[in-house]
Amino acid sequence: MAKKAQNERQSEATFACNLRELEQIVAALERGEVELEKSLELYERGAALIGCCRKQLQQAEMRIEKMQIGKQGVSLEAVEEEGGDDEDQS
């Protein structure tokens, strides 16, 4: 469970990294300080990053789990959809 989460965190971290890299590429190209050949390379990389980030944003589906506190620790149980029960607390 933790391992899976770790992977997910990495993928999320990738989103942040991708975004940061993309911003750097855009800034570098806008400054126009790179050689043409290098800039074409950067452009391709930037386009790929944009696609990647978009995919990450669009594909994501929120997952919900419920935590139960046991004697040994906690257990997590996936929840299909939030209950919809309207017992009000507030």
Binding site: L29, G32, L40, A47, L57, M62, R63, Q89
Partner: protein
Amino acid sequence: MAKKKRQNSLFDDVPLFDPQRVKLPDDAPAPTGDDDDDAGGSAGKVGSGGGSAAGGKVRGRKGGRRRKSASVSLVPESDESSSAESTSGAEGGAALVAANGSREQPLTVSQLSQGIADVLEVCLSRVWVVGEVSGLKRAASGHLYFDLKDGESLISCVMWRSDAGRLRMDVEDGLEVLAQARVGYYGRSGRLQLYVSLLEMRGAGLLELRFRQMKERLEAEGLFAAERKRALPEFPSTIGVVTSGTGAAVRDIFHVLRRRWPAVRVILAPVRVQGEGAREEIAAAVRAFDRHLSDVVDVLIVGRGGGSLEDLWAFNEECVARAIADCSIPVVSAVGHETDFSISDFVADVRAPTPSAAAEIVVPDCREFQRRLGSHAGRLVRAMTGLLQTAGHRLHRLAEHRFFKYPEEIAGQAAIRLDDLQQRLNHALVGRIVRQGERLTNIERRLLQQRPSRQLALRVAALEQLAGRHRSQADRLLERARARVDRLGDRLEALSPLAVLGRGYSITLNRSSGRAVRRAADVEAGLELETLLADGDRIRSTVSDSEAGRDGRPTAAPDNAGTNERGGMDDEDGSRRDG
């Protein structure tokens, strides 16, 4: 409820006020202290209280207690044994006032005071009163002096040190309290005051005080310090939520998360958020996250929807505050009250006014990132286009260069330039030679000018010029002299003896001496003479005889000679005069 029970246990061993005794003094035997439990509540309820089975027991205890309190308050009336006696005692006091306070039998002030004290002692020896503390003074002795007031009335209160020491909280002005007190009348100053034995915070006042005092305590511990606050992750992947599993709060949180940043995993720890056990469950859930899932969960939302102060109270409990403070995962508190803060709010890393707001704070908005990605894409394309255009322009400019466009022209120009250079070189050389030659000529000329012959010629010329000038001057002088000579000659001519000869005179000369013969004595016979005539004619003769004249001189000759001489002498003078 537990609180109330505690109160009741306190009630049990103290005498209680029965208002019916005050209101209905002639209802002497009826009321007993059987409704202890609600004595602190409404007075009306007291009267309606039921069973008298326990009455005797309670009464008995009351009696025992009252003896003590009577001795303490120095109420002179002695009610040794039973409440019945004490009741009659109270009635006795009233009776005393009624019987003796007449015009015929007036009371003394002391008697009246005593009567008042007795009545109060009997009727109001144990009351619960609700009011607001004001004018609190804490004496050095430890006793508390204050007033209890409501909107219209005010009563002075005293709380002895022994009672004040048992207070669980600090009393403050403005607090709404429930006080258990005996009403006392102090005859010496005619003052009535409450002797407060118990003081409890009431309702909001109580909670408020507990809130404030805990806040101060935790703040003093540094749990609210700004440097303790941790930054929330920018892109959390897993979010823990501690709240009711069934409230609006959890639905709001899920809704906002799904809308803003669906790329997230949510772990919900459903807990009770109000009532019994809520604080323990909340604290346990927070600690469970911290202990077991701190490497998974990036941020924790702890909260609930809005409610009354009592409903939200669990989030003001110390165990919850400490669990949050100890949590290694950044915590966002979301206790649904826009304006009021809970202790959790202060301890958490970030305070959100509502659960929805907490969800918004915790995750970024994916739409904003989609916009940002769109913007990045646009900038990327523009930047690249710009770069390509720039490169294209440069290429174009290069291609447009004459070198590429008219290469032969470039070569021709080179040739022209070469020629030009050649020409300039030649010019430079020739010019140099010419200049050198000119210089040489110049020097030569100057040298020639310095030649000795030329110098000589110059000198000669100068000399000749000078000589010429001399000569002309000499000529002039000569001419002048000559003219003068001529003039003198003419004049001399005019005076010349020869000219005299022209007029007929003659001169006779001694031929041998050449001297003119002036006297006869100058000649002797035989002497040859020469006579000069005009025009140079000459006659030679020889003296034959000489005859002296009267003066001894020859007559003829001396006359002529004498004339000549005089004339000669005159000429000499004349010429001299001319010169």
